[in-house]
């Protein structure tokens, strides 16, 4: 056994010396070492894995080393993010205001005779209905200090809203078209049938008003557009009110009635315009009698 081990030792020692010697000789002669190249080929996959592990460990420790910096950067980014969010909210508000002012200007351009006073809705009383809550009464942020008086019409770019019924120094109260106490002189644009557009409990839940006092034989059809007639000296001529959705005959008083769906969305009113002055027309003709309130 001992002899075998000696042989083994001598053989391995001889092999190691031979490898060293031949490799050295070949290296001196300028030939590459075949053994070294073969060893490199064997070890290469393991070196590749080791390199990946090393990179991972190195990255992890560099992450730990930079943790304080990262924390500070995170705080900074959070603060910046909050500031940007605030800016975004401001930008959205400004965009809304911009859109509103654009419509406001379009009213001014379309009706050069209108004196307008933009106002915001502070609060509203509404009636709940199928399509949501429909405002019947509004409180606006303009009052007598802004030149607002009772009886002044209130509009939006879409159409008529209502009329100012009460004014304080900095606020005013507006009854909308849907309220039963409001009555607006109205005319259909297709056949110029005159009537009164009033709020009515029978259609309030649908956010609609009723066009009443039409002659029995009046030519009114579903889809007709209704605008203010200018009669009554409160509302100027031609402000869009809405569209006829249903026509019914009232046999008792021998008149025709029509349900009108307003163009103004009374469920989402935030900005309106108060008409503080305008040239008064009746059915499209200038009223020279000067009976503007």
């Amino acid at each position: 056994m001992s002899r075998i081990k000696q042989r083994f030792f001598i053989a391995c020692l001889g092999l190691a010396l031979a490898v060293a010697l031949f490799t050295g000789v070949f290296a001196v002669m300028g030939w590459g070492s075949l053994l070294r190249d073969a060893g490199s080929a064997v070890i290469y996959p393991f070196q590749w894995i080791g390199s990946k592990i090393g990179n991972g460990i190195s990255g992890f420790f560099s992450y730990l080393a930079d943790l304080d910096d990262l924390q500070a950067e995170l705080e900074s980014v959070r603060a910046e993010n909050q500031a940007l969010k605030n800016q975004l909210i401001d930008a959205e508000i400004l965009a809304d205001e911009n859109a509103w002012l654009y419509h406001y200007l379009s009213i001014k351009e379309e009706h050069g005779d209108y004196a307008l006073c933009a106002a915001s809705v502070i609060s509203s009383s509404s009636a709940s209905g199928e399509g949501g809550d429909f405002a019947t009464e509004l409180t606006l942020n303009r009052g007598s200090s802004s030149g607002v008086e009772t009886g002044m019409p209130v509009i939006t770019p879409s159409g008529l809203v209502g009329v100012v019924v009460e004014v304080s120094l900095h606020h005013c109260r507006v009854m909308t078209l849907l309220d039963t106490s409001v009555s607006v002189g109205a005319v259909t644009t297709r056949a110029t049938e005159n009537g009164l557009c009033e709020g009515d409990y029978s259609v309030l839940h649908m956010g609609q008003a009723i066009l009443k006092n039409l002659p029995e034989e009046a030519d009114v059809q579903v889809g007709d557009i209704v605008v203010t007639s200018g009669r009554g000296s409160v509302y100027p001529y031609g402000i869009p009110i809405g569209r006829v959705t249903e026509v019914t005959a009232n046999a008792f008083v021998r008149t025709t009635e029509a349900a009108v769906e307003p163009f103004t969305d009374f469920s989402e009113l935030t900005q309106v315009v108060i008409l503080t002055d305008y040239t008064h027309y009746v059915d499209g003709y200038e009223n020279t009698q000067g009976d503007r309130p």
Binding site: K5, L15, T23, L35, R36, G39, Q47, G50, S51
Partner: protein
């Protein structure tokens, strides 16, 4: 049953089982050796010890592995593993003559013979080998690189390059010993 004197009898299938176990052991040791040398030459070559300056040094895992195999499995296994590990180490880091196989073979073989006869088979005993083997490797590296390092003062080079490698080799000895010991336990035939 008549048995002839002088002939060693074994149970049926024992030879095949022993061969299978030897193949398992060989494959496991070869793969472990390759992984350790792969780590030595890549991930662990960036290890830096502040005390010795910030120059990177790597522990001689191949050498430790050869000595651990010799220490735990025997001098033959240690010697062959040393030849193999030395070959791999030289293939990745050496230049000129391939002397690492000779050094690693001697270390692996001697750890087997000396460890078996003189020392207990435990970690503190192996640490003695790791200190000696690491030191020997450093001396080897000094002698091999003396020709190249003419510009740098040898003291600086030894302090910042060789001593850290030696310290790291000793520090990693427990891990390598544990690995080989664990493999030995896993491959031990369960009766």
């Amino acid at each position: 049953m008549n048995r002839r004197p002088g002939i060693r009898y074994t149970a049926v299938g024992t030879g095949r089982r022993v061969l299978t176990e030897q193949i398992k052991l060989t494959v496991t040791l070869a793969l472990t050796g390759l992984v350790l040398i792969g780590l030595e030459t890549t991930a662990l070559s960036r290890v830096k010890i502040p005390l010795f300056g910030w120059q990177a040094a790597s522990p001689a895992l191949g050498l430790l592995f050869s000595m651990a195999v010799g220490f735990l499995h025997g001098e033959r296994e240690g010697g062959i593993t040393g030849l193999f590990a030395g070959w791999m180490a030289d293939a990745t880091m050496g230049d000129g003559m391939m002397l690492c196989p000779l050094l690693y073979f001697l270390c692996g073989y001697l750890s087997g013979t000396v460890g078996k006869r003189r020392l207990a088979h435990n970690l503190p005993s192996f640490m003695i080998f790791s200190v000696m083997g690491g030191g020997l490797r450093c001396l080897w590296a000094v002698s091999a690189a003396a020709v190249k390092l003419r510009g740098l003062p040898p003291a600086v080079w030894i302090w910042t390059g060789l001593v850290p490698a030696w310290v790291l080799t000793v520090l990693f000895s427990a891990a390598v010993y544990g690995t080989v010991k664990g493999e030995q336990w896993l491959l031990k035939p369960k009766s």
